[in-house]
Symmetry: C2
Subunit: 456 residues, 2 copies
Amino acid sequence: MVPESAPPGVALATDLYQLTMGAAYAALDMSGRATFSLFVRRLPANRSFLVVAGLSEALARLGALRFSPRELAYLRTLPQIRPDFVDRLADFRFRGDVWAVPEGRVVLADEPILEVQAPILEAQLAETVLVNALHFPTSVATKAARCVIAAPGRTLVDFGLRRTPGIDAGLSVARSCYMAGFAATSNLMAGQRLGIPVSGTVAHSFIEAFPSELEGFRAFASVYPGPVTLLIDTYDTLRGAEHAVEIALELRTRGGRVGAVRIDSGDLAALSVGVRRILDAAGLRDVQIIASGGLDEFELAKLAAAGARIDAYGVGTRVGTAADAPALDMAYKLVEYDGVPRLKLSEGKRTLVGAKQVWRRRGADGRFAGDVIAGRDEAAPGPDWEPLLEPVMRSGEVLVDPELAAIRSCHRAEMAGLPEPLLRLEGPGDYPVELSPGLAVRQAAAEAATRGREGL
Amino acid sequence: MVPESAPPGVALATDLYQLTMGAAYAALDMSGRATFSLFVRRLPANRSFLVVAGLSEALARLGALRFSPRELAYLRTLPQIRPDFVDRLADFRFRGDVWAVPEGRVVLADEPILEVQAPILEAQLAETVLVNALHFPTSVATKAARCVIAAPGRTLVDFGLRRTPGIDAGLSVARSCYMAGFAATSNLMAGQRLGIPVSGTVAHSFIEAFPSELEGFRAFASVYPGPVTLLIDTYDTLRGAEHAVEIALELRTRGGRVGAVRIDSGDLAALSVGVRRILDAAGLRDVQIIASGGLDEFELAKLAAAGARIDAYGVGTRVGTAADAPALDMAYKLVEYDGVPRLKLSEGKRTLVGAKQVWRRRGADGRFAGDVIAGRDEAAPGPDWEPLLEPVMRSGEVLVDPELAAIRSCHRAEMAGLPEPLLRLEGPGDYPVELSPGLAVRQAAAEAATRGREGL
């Protein structure tokens, strides 16, 4: 779905059980107010933080949660849903309150990313669309942010579209990458709809369509006399660099120039050094080297360590699929109903009861020094603590709608605050997240009460 | 995007360089016919075959490849694209020919899944939308097929939607899973739009909203007196099973019954045995046990090996994100232009030249015994060989449009032909794929000619 628009048909983008439960709540006249928390329980290996993304899409979906006549007709065909409930759905609207961590900010495991307060039917029907809206963008933004960490001072461009999980996923990837600090995307739809700068070079097929590489280069340069990018690894990368030099010298005589060369295969570090040498020997120090092909934060870090002479990277498939961590343990759990804290006791699946706030403190160096998860009604743990969650929807009305550029700026500032352990690419990192004494007491009481009620 | 419909705005779901190359072809009057092959170069670890999926979406996208006035207006703002070319795009249509392996069939590395023959501009503009249409569905259908292998005789249901990479990805996942033999999906949009049976139970939140588990069960059963499914792991799974027995006995007195219980956490194998014992002791042998939570083919195989007493599985996130292999090395490469075979020599990136066919032979046991990749104009390698690619589009007109049910049947037959090495879940498998002597000669000649031309 297109971020920042109301996606059509979003109401059926849900699990059947949301409606069977909804019908039961309706039949039982259970209209009490519920609080649900959306959070990630455990971070994947090699993730020490998450970058929140997808919130504007999530809110757009909540606003668009209504059932069309055709959708209602489909629901009437299902024996699993009570027909009287389907009639009621014709008027369904989400009119709840939502608090959330702004997009671009960093959260840790167990910290609520978003909380919904609404009559239980509305809050329940929001589950699938909300998790779906936040899960993938957050996975991708996190991986993109790690790429930015791994390639300081380098230009990163999203090349992911062809292998993203669908076209809408491609749009979402371009958005998450741009938010995380990428300079541009190859994705024209993202350029058109989200205003992200677009960038691109040329493919091997173009070179192959000519009798020789040199003729292919010359033809491309003849059409695009501005700063042209040449793809030099179709046949032999170093020979390709020599051909690029030849074209650059030809272009110079008519006022054009080669802006960059791209390498897409082989030992990128070694080849980049060889190509740089060839370019520099020809006086082409201003010609940049772009590399692509299977890159992610781990490859970028290896290239930096190997002394690669690469100015810009096209990062595609591995970020566009969040390849090493495509799934987050993101959950949306009931934490309060009718004023009573709720939780499950299922193994390894702790949920923190009640509406909450996350407070963050900075150290003397200006970097994040620790978080506290507290009840939302608690005061700040101290004078220097900043709250992460803010009201984003009230009675179904969206309260915030930041521009993508503003989210990108917010994210840049956020990353400047990351302490060293969270900047490491490997391992789980190390960052203190504690419960407030108030929440700890409330949590223990709720667990004890639940065990007591169940005779456990 | 919705499979089997013409997605709006698909033309801009492409990489900028497709249009810069297209503009260059137009400016240079290069309108020769090109052949491109779409294939997967190397299979991921623990994938010994791929299940083709996404073809109907791919063809729908080719048919929808046209530029709206608004899209053209956006393109005119880009300095990277020649304005005279943007004018030409107003009339752009894809009118090429396409051959492809039908959805549901099994392919191996290097085998063409789809080939396009069209004027080079059209064939080039098809690249991003085609790879994007086939990549994710094929990844997911392959993983889903492996789940079916790992859980023979068990019912599998797609629970993936909440963590799929977007809503359209969720639809695509439901379709790929159903094609691969899943019985149903929780995804209502997939039910409505694709006619896939829907299925679902109840969430922990429902149970938690009641003063006790037993009251939650009783309330749910009162609303749905038919065969009801109870979720029993909210607090303590074995105690939950006892509560389910209590409800089942209550329901029996008024003609209702408990159809199944679901377990979503803990040691599923051990718990299922304990739950089965409790149910059987109460004379409830017909109550099924459903399990869910982090399942994929590896977990399903472990549960079978551990003697789990589970009748049906809800399989979600790991299949819906193709979690252990979210990216395929799927490429779309120029293999012929203007009647001349084309290839690149980039390291580790072999492309097989010319239009091709894949031939498959069965052994005496009826199972696949080996494939041969040949030039498309070559005769079958022998009398018992079957071709995999078939014409699916001619001059831009779709030639085939199988129902999802037919694709599902085709896939079931296909899986019955898999030889034992390909049925193993781990390792790369072992299956002979050879080049025909004709293609081998053509390939060697093209490589030699290319090297010669480039002086390598």
